[in-house]
Structure formats: C-alpha cells, structure tokens
C-alpha cells in the first residue's frame, strides 16, 4: 500500500484544463457581466469618466481647476524660472551663466558713512573710509579684494580657496593678519561676485524694478533685502549686520549681471570699531574669464611686514572702542588702561 506522501503526490498530479471552447464561453459571459455591471455600479466604481469629466461636473472643482491653470500660466510667464522668450531676465539662466565663469575682475567703490549722514564719511586713523575697489575672482583659486584710498592701497584681502586661508594686508602700517576661513566666510566673500549676488538674489524675496540702460546695455533691475547668507556668519559682537539691501542690474541680452549696489547697515561691533555704520558698495562687472596669475591669490605675508597684534589695534582705535574690546573680553581691562595711562603720562608729564 502506498504511503500518505505518495497518495498526496498522485492526487496532486491530477489536473483539468480549459479548452478553447470553455475559454471562449467563460470569457464572453464574464466580459458581458463586466460590461453590464458598470451600468449598475455605484458612481464611484463606474469606469469611464476621465479626470476632466469629474472636474467639470462640479462648479467648485471647475473653478478651482481654472484657478490652478491661471496660476500655473502666471508662474510660467512671469516667474524667473520661465522661458526667456518674453525678452526678460531669467534668473535661473543667469545663475547658470555666472556658475560658468572661471575668472573675473570686478571694479567698484566702497564707502562707509554715519547713519543718516550720507555725506559724513567715516574716518579711521585720519583717513576717510572711501575706497576704490578692485576684486579678482577665480573659481579655482579664490578671491582678492583690494581697497585703495586715492592711489594708495589701504588693504588687501586674499582668500585662498584651496588653502582655506585668508590674508589681510595693511600696507600703510606694514601689517598683516592671517586666519583660517570657514565655508560660511567663503560664501560671504563670494557675495561680492556675480555668482554670490545672484545667489543672494535668489535665496530670498526680491522685487523687479523694471528696465534700464547702463552704458548702452539693456538691463533689468532687481532689488533684494536681508538675504539669509549674511545671518550668523560671524558673531554679532564682531560684525553686526542688521540690514542688507541690494540692487542688481542684469543684462537682458547677456543674461549676466552688469552692476550691483549694496547697502549694509552695521551695528556697533568690533569690525566697525563700535560705531554704527552704513556701508555702500558699488560693483561693476565686465572682465570675465580672463587669465589670472595664481600668485595673486598667495596668502604668504609679504616681506618686511609684521603680524597685526592687539597692541597695534589698540593704538589706532578710539577709547570707546577699547572699552568695547574689554566688554567683549578681547582685551584685559588692566592692559587697556595701563596703556592709556602710559600714553597720557608720555604726552602730558605733569
């Protein structure tokens, strides 16, 4: 007698298959049942009506759909992400273009004034803080910013991207300072380049100011305010950027920035020597993808220069700034007042 397993195997080997006639019969009747069932089905289960039919059945959905379409068309036609076919500036295209820039030279001015007094230029150590700027930008090597007063170089910031190092040179004092740069600081420095400007423009709210003509170039102007990039890059006690407002003029044909103006209101902080300041900067762009020597971005201190120390800073800053330094804990109170006392004793022996 066979075992249970064998019986299971034998039984499992039995089969029946449908022939063509059976297939046709069952499929025809089932197909008819399917067709008939759709007529008597609940509305939700009925096949057929397309999404448009459903939308058009109700006034609410009809008008909602119309509103969505109008909104989408508006976005396509008016937004910066639309096509450039309407002759305007497309920021996405501009961003792509500036990302493709390898090198450039930017020229402009930087002026520091007292708030509410546009003609009252801030003075530092007897010099008016009204600089002519030249910036050298290289996607590969970094950024150099030179500030001139008259024909004399007052400062040079060299940010070396591969080394992640920044060198500040102050030729009038034969002093230099170096520090390591973070990614955020790198972005801050890049904000002065077309790439940075477009990023600033696109990362927050901006307003179109209409068309203009700059030196024969048809441009469209944009205004932006308080971009996120400026926030929390450095502690407020060091550099307290309270308000940023910028205008960018972008060439319609070129789809590239032509000019930028920025106004920064900086509160009392270390870098403003504890003064409230307005900083107005104007940059014009033009020299793109020209050859720049790698040595321009060298962060080695020049020969004959000595490192900037706290004592150097204390010599040139006013008393209120020194008090601020003490408040920040940058300089010990005894050190500041001892130096002041020594200076006074020297100048006034009585």
């Amino acid at each position: 007698m066979k075992s249970s397993k064998q019986i299971e195997k034998i039984v499992g080997g039995a089969w029946a298959k449908a022939g063509q006639v059976t297939d046709e019969r069952i499929l025809t009747d089932a197909g008819n049942a399917l067709t008939n069932s759709t007529i008597n089905r609940p509305q939700a289960l009925r096949p057929g009506p397309t999404i448009w039919r459903l939308i058009m059945e109700s006034k609410i959905t009809r008008y909602s759909a119309a509103a969505v379409i109008v909104l989408a068309m508006t976005l396509v036609l008016l937004s910066p992400f639309g096509t450039p076919g309407n002759g305007g500036v497309v920021l996405a295209n501009v961003q792509q273009n500036v990302n493709g820039i390898e090198t450039m030279i930017i020229r402009g001015t930087k002026t520091c004034t007292r708030p509410g007094e546009p003609d009252n230029v801030f003075e530092f150590d007897g010099m008016k803080c009204e600089f002519d700027l030249v910036k050298y930008f290289s996607k590969q090597y970094g950024l150099v910013e030179e500030g001139y007063i008259g024909d004399k170089l007052f400062y040079r910031f060299t940010f070396n991207r591969p080394k992640r190092q920044t060198l500040l040179v102050l030729p009038p004092y034969k002093k230099y300072g170096t520090f390591t740069s973070t990614d955020k600081q790198m972005r801050l420095l890049e904000n002065g380049t077309p790439k940075g400007i477009i990023n600033l423009l696109m990362e927050g709210d901006y307003q179109k100011l209409g068309r203009d003509n700059i030196n024969g170039t048809e441009v469209e102007a944009f205004e932006f305010q308080n971009p996120v990039t400026f926030k929390e890059i450095v502690p407020k006690v060091i550099f307290d950027v309270q308000n940023v407002k910028g205008k960018v003029w972008i060439g319609i044909k070129e789809q590239m920035p032509v000019r930028v103006e920025g106004d920064l209101f900086i509160g009392k902080s270390f870098l403003t020597l504890f003064n409230d300041l307005n900083m107005h900067e104007v940059n014009t762009f033009g020299d793109y993808n020209i050859e720049l020597d790698e040595n321009i971005f060298d962060t080695n201190p020049p020969e004959g220069y000595t490192e900037l120390t706290l004592s150097d800073i204390l010599q040139v800053i006013p008393a209120e700034a020194k008090a601020g330094l003490v408040g920040l804990g940058v300089a010990p109170a005894g050190f500041v007042f001892w130096r002041r006392r020594r200076k006074r004793t020297k100048t006034n022996p009585s």
Binding site: M1, S4, V11, K17, G19
Partner: protein, 173 residues
C-alpha cells in the same frame, strides 16, 4: 502584473484585466472544481459562474489581497451549492464523452488526462467534506488554517478530514 493591480484595473471595467486573471487561475480552479464535482460539465459551469459573478460584482473586489484564495473559496462554495441544490452526486465513472483527452481535442472543452480521470473518480468516492479539504489543500494550495477559516470549522477538524480522506484514497488508488 500583480493581482492587486489587476483587480484595480478590473474594478475600472478593464476587460484585459479580466482576461489576465482568468488565464492565470483557470486551470487550478477547474482542477479543484473537477476534484469536487467529478463532472466536467458541472466543473466548467462552476468556474463559469464564479467568473461571471466575479466580473459582475465589484463590491467583492476587496478580496484582492489574496485573489487566488478568494477564487478558490468561490469555486468550493459554488461546487457545494451545486451538490446541495441539484443533489448532484459526483460521477464515480465519468463518460468519455464528458471530457476530451489532451491528445484528442486540444481545442475542445475541458481537457483531462486519463490518469487525472482515475484520480478524480477515486476522489468522488470520498465524503464531500473530506473531498473538499483534500482538493483545496492539494490542488488549491490552501493552508489548513485558510481552509478552516473558509469552512468555519477548527483547524483540527480540517486536518482530521484531510487525514481520513488521504487514508481512504490509499485504498482507492
């Protein structure tokens, strides 16, 4: 394509989905029907009725989680109803005209091999409860637990029916 997707398409009255489901399960369903009814015409009618009902009642589509099990249960229920209502007694000796052998008529109605006929005849001698359990477990590939849920009996009852059924088949085969 997965069963769930097919059922969804069927709920939108897609005849192609119906065709695919039919071709996927028709032979297994016919085998179970044959094992339960041992009558080719009745088996064909059984599967026919199940598919017509299945296509015409979208409310039952929620069974899509286990389409195979759902269809097997439908066939088993339909077969039991046929037996109950028509007092249909499975043929212990099937007429040769009732079915076509594979070689003779591949385009015909129900195709059953000679060995299968012998097995279905042997199964027809089992009591309906045992036949049902044996067929659903072996041909329908349903677990004892699923069969117990379907028949609303305990799993032990299902297993004992299966055991008795197999024991009897040992004497017939």
């Amino acid at each position: 394509m997965k069963d769930r997707r097919l059922v969804h398409r069927l709920s939108r009255a897609d005849p192609d989905a119906l065709r695919q489901i039919y071709h996927r399960y028709k032979d297994d369903l016919l085998t179970v029907a044959m094992a339960l009814l041992a009558d080719p015409d009745a088996a064909e009618d059984c599967v026919h009725d199940v598919f017509v009902h299945f296509a015409g009642t979208p409310a039952d589509m929620r069974a899509s989680r286990n389409l195979r099990g759902y269809l097997m249960r439908c066939v088993a229920n339909r077969a039991k109803n046929l037996i109950r209502r028509q007092q249909l007694q499975p043929d212990c000796q099937m007429d040769e005209q009732d079915y076509a052998s594979e070689q003779d008529c591949p385009e015909g109605r129900l195709i059953v091999s000679e060995e299968s006929v012998r097995i279905f005849e042997a199964m027809a001698k089992l009591p309906t409860e045992q036949r049902e359990v044996v067929s659903l477990h072996i041909h329908g590939r349903m677990k004892f637990r699923e069969i117990a849920e379907q028949l609303d009996v305990s799993i032990n009852t299902v297993q004992s029916r299966y055991r008795y059924g197999i024991e009897k088949l040992r004497t017939f085969l």
